[in-house]
């Protein structure tokens, strides 16, 4: 009860910020920074996370007057975070600022072994986390920004098409079609690694 009295609600803080109290935004920043960082970390390279997370809060601040209290602020903020990550990739894919190394024989061997071994061992048990991460980064770098986001949200995070569509601000049918196509592209890329 006491906690509720001292801790203003999101709606209350938002109202204060819109009324001109810019400093109140710090409450929202502290409350949701870990949540935003968790989202951003999943989609963005580690060294770019701080910059992108900062951009998420700046965008959220600017868009605050447009926030409708129908949904939760957290949900609204997560959509801004995902779209900021998407914009990051769009920008970087255009400029190709992030160089991606090619795969080595080590990765090919790992992939071949993984595909041939149908046992249910997790990658921790196999002790080859590095190869899996590098292969994933390589494959995602070969996809377009749109395909990349859909693969990450639907294929890797396991979100439903509807949830992914709400986060990205796209139509459900668009995400459905793109999800199918991008999965096929990913499979083609991985198959190409073995046959190369």
């Amino acid at each position: 009860m006491r906690n509720q009295l001292t801790r203003p609600s999101d709606a209350e803080i938002i109202r204060r910020v819109i009324d001109g109290d810019v400093n109140s935004f710090e409450h929202l920043l502290k409350r949701y920074q870990d949540y935003v960082l968790r989202i951003v970390t999943k989609h963005i390279p580690y060294n770019e996370v701080e910059e992108v997370a900062q951009e998420v809060f700046v965008r959220a601040y600017q868009a605050l007057p447009g926030f409708k209290q129908e949904g939760s602020f957290k949900q609204w903020l997560s959509a801004i975070a995902v779209r900021t990550c998407y914009d990051f990739w769009r920008k970087h894919y255009r400029s190709r600022e992030l160089p991606m190394g090619d795969l080595s024989e080590r990765h090919r061997d790992w992939l071949e072994k993984t595909l041939s071994n149908q046992s249910d061992k997790s990658f921790h048990e196999k002790g080859r986390e590095k190869e899996a991460k590098e292969l994933l980064d390589w494959a995602l770098s070969k996809l377009s920004a749109r395909d990349r986001m859909v693969i990450e949200l639907v294929y890797l995070e396991g979100l439903s098409v509807k949830e992914a569509a709400a986060l990205l601000g796209w139509s459900v049918s668009n995400v459905k079609v793109r999800s199918f196509r991008s999965r096929k592209k990913l499979e083609t890329l991985l198959t190409g690694v073995i046959s190369a």
Binding site: Q118, S122, K133
Partner: protein, 105 residues
């Protein structure tokens, strides 16, 4: 086909684990200060609807009506014809005795 699908399912599981294994980023207090500095530099948020919001709310809503008007206009033009000069000339040729240029204006 089935074994290939099973292989991809196994690979998917491993890639998902790799995806969730990413190192969690920690930010310093300086990061918070930087964000707040940027926000203070932006100044108070505009509470009233901006031009772009109004554009989005009202102008885009009129798009179907505009499209309908364009289609109706195009049909009318097709029915009436695009060449009024040609029609006037035809009128001259057919009624040379009764119509003079001055009568037209």
């Amino acid at each position: 086909m089935k074994p290939l699908q099973r292989k991809y399912e196994a690979l998917k599981k491993i890639l998902r684990e790799a995806y969730f294994e990413k190192e969690h980023a920690e930010v310093s207090e300086q990061w918070q200060l930087n964000v707040m500095r940027r926000i203070r530099n932006l100044g108070p948020v505009q509470s009233g609807p901006s031009f772009f919001m109004l554009f989005e709310q009202f102008v885009w809503r009129l798009t179907p009506v505009t499209c309908l008007l364009i289609i109706v206009g195009a049909i009318i033009f097709l029915k009436l014809g695009f060449f009024p000069d040609y029609d006037v000339l035809t009128l001259f040729i057919n009624n040379t005795e009764e119509l003079s240029l001055a009568q037209l204006f």
